[in-house]
């Protein structure tokens, strides 16, 4: 009951004219920045910090503005995923897999609206999770030592097999490629440079935003160049259908169990400081696929559940990531790292005592999250029609704009021409990989998680004085490894055998009936 009265106080803090206006502005700007390739939530928040300072905002209003941007960007990332097959930021990567096929089938409006609702469900319940469970959830984060994190990341990679149904060797190749790229840079454990060839620009490693924008956005430009038509031919082409712009109740009901399941999964992934939102959306998608579509019949081909799952998952993870940030002062993702820095500069020290020392800030923030959430839903559903207009722009004009925005997004953050060159390299690599039917998602996952995976293994083994058995030394690690092996790795081998047997059996039957 005390929690609820605290929350009521929070609403009293948050519900002023100024704060609501800030939340609205934040949600709007965040949505735009999330949708633009190259500007993810973390950079979006970082870019708006000066604005918050220039306006001379107090702690609570500044936080309201910036968390609205954060949530808005999490919403916005999906827009370009669905419409252009280019993720606006890394957690939206999984939404491409089913969102873009839906758009191609003339269901872009439905996909956008559904993903908006799924984002809302994920974020809404995650915020309640934050309200009710934050102190207890901290204990969950403390269950995860280095060995447990290593097992968790292995599990994430094991689920890759379930995502691209075609050639498992190509998934493995792509994952290894991503992991290999992640190794570039100064080794954080010993301080020696690896695979840098003496190039100072590579010492910090390759920014995964550079990789994701290059692989997805630029390779898309190349694909269009490959298949370009003249203006006359394009005009003759049938117009892309937008379809209805609200999802039917039937579809929402159909996707509700998916949304609820993935909200829980995403939230837990978000609470773990080493995992974050990308892992949340990733695990949500692959687990859901495993559960409802183990044969790979509809997922990846425009299944609405394949849109709902990662969106609910990543928005739930965004809420979950606030738990370790507020209660431990440990950022669980790039964005919460930036928010943490903001809190510090506003004279607030996140940590175990934040909830008792600055209750007005915490509860004001949580109330703001609720408000932002409803605002985003209210803003996003009517705007679906507007977003889909993007598809009316002919690709010959749209694609160069996307390419240039990608360049600016990267250059504006890092100020480095070198990064842009690396990005072009990724663009060409992405084009070749697509031609070869190698999935791009594992490459990104590899660059994203590679370092964390390696350092956690090394931390665990070093703490155990070189004893590798520590990697399976706790009950939790054994559980995670078992799920990875029994649930995902064995079926690849066994599944092939079973399928082949079934096929021969069916062929026999067919030959008999003939």
């Amino acid at each position: 009951m005390e929690t609820l009265s605290n929350l009521a106080d929070g609403f009293a803090v948050a519900l002023t004219f100024q704060n609501i206006a800030l939340a609205l502005a934040g949600c709007f700007l965040g949505t735009i920045m999330g949708a633009l390739p190259g500007l993810g939530p973390s950079n979006g928040v970082a870019i708006l910090i000066p604005l918050a300072f220039t306006l001379g905002l107090g702690a609570t209003p500044a936080l309201i503005l910036l968390t609205s941007v954060y949530y808005g960007a999490m919403y916005g990332g999906r827009i370009s995923s669905i419409l252009l097959n280019i993720p606006g930021d890394e957690p939206a990567m999984m939404t491409c897999l089913d969102g873009y096929p839906m758009a191609q089938q003339g269901r872009a409006g439905e996909a956008l609206a559904l993903s908006g609702v799924a984002s809302f469900v994920g974020a809404f319940f995650a915020t309640w999770g934050l309200v009710l469970l934050a102190p207890q959830l901290v204990k969950v984060a403390l269950l995860f030592g280095p060995a447990e994190y290593f097992a968790l990341f292995t599990l994430a990679f094991a689920t890759l097999g379930g995502i691209s149904a075609t050639n498992q060797a190509k998934s493995a190749f792509a994952a290894a490629l991503g992991l290999g790229l992640a190794m570039i840079g100064v080794d954080t454990q010993t301080g020696v440079p690896r695979f840098t060839f003496g190039e100072v620009h590579l010492y910090d490693g390759i920014d995964f935003l550079v990789a994701i924008v290059g692989l997805f956005a630029l390779s898309e430009v190349f694909i269009f160049l490959e298949h370009r038509r003249s203006a006359a031919e394009e005009a003759a082409k049938p117009k892309i259908e937008i379809g209805r712009i609200t999802p039917s109740w039937k579809m929402l009901r159909y996707c509700t169990p998916t949304m609820l399941r993935t909200t829980v999964l995403g939230f837990i992934a978000g609470v773990l400081p080493g995992a974050g939102a990308s892992l949340g959306s990733f695990i949500s998608y692959s687990m859901e696929k495993k559960l409802v579509d183990p044969e790979g019949k509809t997922f990846g081909k425009g299944d609405p559940r394949g849109v709902a799952a990662p969106e609910a998952g990543n928005n739930a993870a965004a809420g979950g990531a606030l738990v370790p940030m507020l209660a431990l002062g440990v950022p669980g993702s790039g964005t919460t790292a930036v928010l943490l820095a903001v809190l510090l500069s506003l004279n607030i020290t996140p940590g175990p005592l934040l909830f008792t020392q600055n209750p007005d800030v915490v509860w004001g923030l949580i109330a703001a999250l609720f408000i932002g959430n409803f605002m985003l839903l209210a803003m996003n559903i009517p705007m679906v029609g507007l977003f889909t207009r993007v598809l009316m722009v002919p690709p010959r004009i749209l694609m160069p704009v996307v390419a240039m925005i990608s360049f600016v997004g990267i250059y504006g953050i890092s100020g480095s021409s070198f990064d842009l060159m690396v990005m072009v390299g990724f663009g060409i690599m992405g084009w070749v990989l697509r031609k070869m039917d190698v999935p791009l998602v594992p490459v990104i996952l590899g660059t994203l998680l590679g370092n964390e995976m390696e350092v956690n293994m090394r931390r665990a083994v070093t703490i155990a004085d070189g004893d590798y058995s520590v990697l399976i030394g706790s009950p939790l690690t054994i559980v995670l490894w078992s799920v990875a092996i029994i649930g995902f790795i064995l079926p690849i081998f066994v599944g092939g055998v079973v399928k082949r047997k079934m096929r021969t059996a069916r062929d026999k039957e067919a030959s008999q009936t003939d």
Binding site: V192, L225, E226, S230, E234, M404, L420, M436, V461, G466
Partner: protein, 143 residues
Amino acid sequence: MSDRIFGGIGLLLALIYAWQATIIQESFLSDAVGPKTFPLIIACILALASVYFLLKPDPEPTWPSYGRLAEIFFAALVMLAYAELLPVLGFLIATALASGYLTWRLGTPPLQSVVVGVGTSVGIYIVFKLILGLSLASGILGF
């Protein structure tokens, strides 16, 4: 055949990667695992997957004609030149040139491409520089 060539390149890549991993200079202070172990494991996975492509190739993808390959090559070249010249020419000029070129090559009439190029450049400048306050390259002319 494409898959076989791809597998061959992959194998070569794995070997080079493994070789590069073995020559990582280790410092006196090292943890129990060391900086080489994990890269070597990655090289193994890369090699195994490549060998699989060599043995069991997928059906051939449809490659574009040489003309289209050249098109892609030149687009990549323009992008690289853009990256290199951005700090020299400044954002507005470089972006107008690059996006104009891409628009033209994607099948827009030349004159229209110029308009689109300039429009894109100015539009992005307004949104990113004036509204969001990002620092875009200024170039020698100061804009």
